[in-house]
């Protein structure tokens, strides 16, 4: 079974530029998550999708971050414009459903550096 795929693996941009990350979850997983992991911290949930609908975006900085999962499969996270403090690893995860016992499987992440 293929795991969660993410691209690109690394991205370096200047502040105020835009950037987009892509995620393809495990086949059949209805729930998709985007996390931000700043160096020295644990992952922080940004947004959670159930199929193609948003179920939790309470921690997403909506003035600059956006995400979509139009067909309920792959997803894109965008930052526009980027700030220095957005430098982090962006992790995508997926699970079969959103219940307690449903393991979240993580992709390798995209490391973003904002200069």
């Amino acid at each position: 079974e293929a795991g969660v795929a993410q691209s690109p693996r690394y991205k370096i941009i200047e502040k105020r530029q835009s950037v987009a990350f892509w995620c393809n979850p495990i086949s059949g997983h209805a729930t998709l998550y985007w996390y931000q992991q700043i160096l020295g911290q644990g992952p922080k949930l940004l947004i959670q999708f159930q199929n193609n609908g948003v179920v939790d975006d309470s921690q997403l900085p909506k003035d600059r971050f956006s995400a979509e999962r139009l067909k309920g499969v792959d997803s894109t996270l965008k930052i526009q414009p980027a700030k220095l403090e957005d430098s982090a690893v962006y992790l995508c995860a997926s699970s079969l459903r959103r219940a307690h016992g449903d393991t979240q499987y993580f992709g390798p992440g995209t490391r973003l550096t904002v200069l």
Partner: protein, 114 residues
Amino acid sequence: DQQVKQNSPSLSVQEGRISILNCDYTNSMFDYFLWYKKYPAEGPTFLISISSIKDKNEDGRFTVFLNKSAKHLSLHIVPSQPGDSAVYFCAASAVKEGNTPLVFGKGTRLSVIA
């Protein structure tokens, strides 16, 4: 306001000995707890979990203990192996509007010395 705390940034253990990683939480609504393991340049991988209705869960060399009254959980690895060297994240969740968002601690870097 950190709801899940891992107060030891790092831990070194000799191969074959026991590794004990600790985690404290503040939110009494948390009812499910997990440990994830992370190698460099990889995403976290699920290791073991425990529901709040239990106080112990065991899976091979890994055992998680939960003390609800103290709001404390720990992960025991026996015996420790060099391949266990990684960053370990404690995570907790509570049902919130039908969802179960994970809240992670900052992680503990475990080094197992051969």
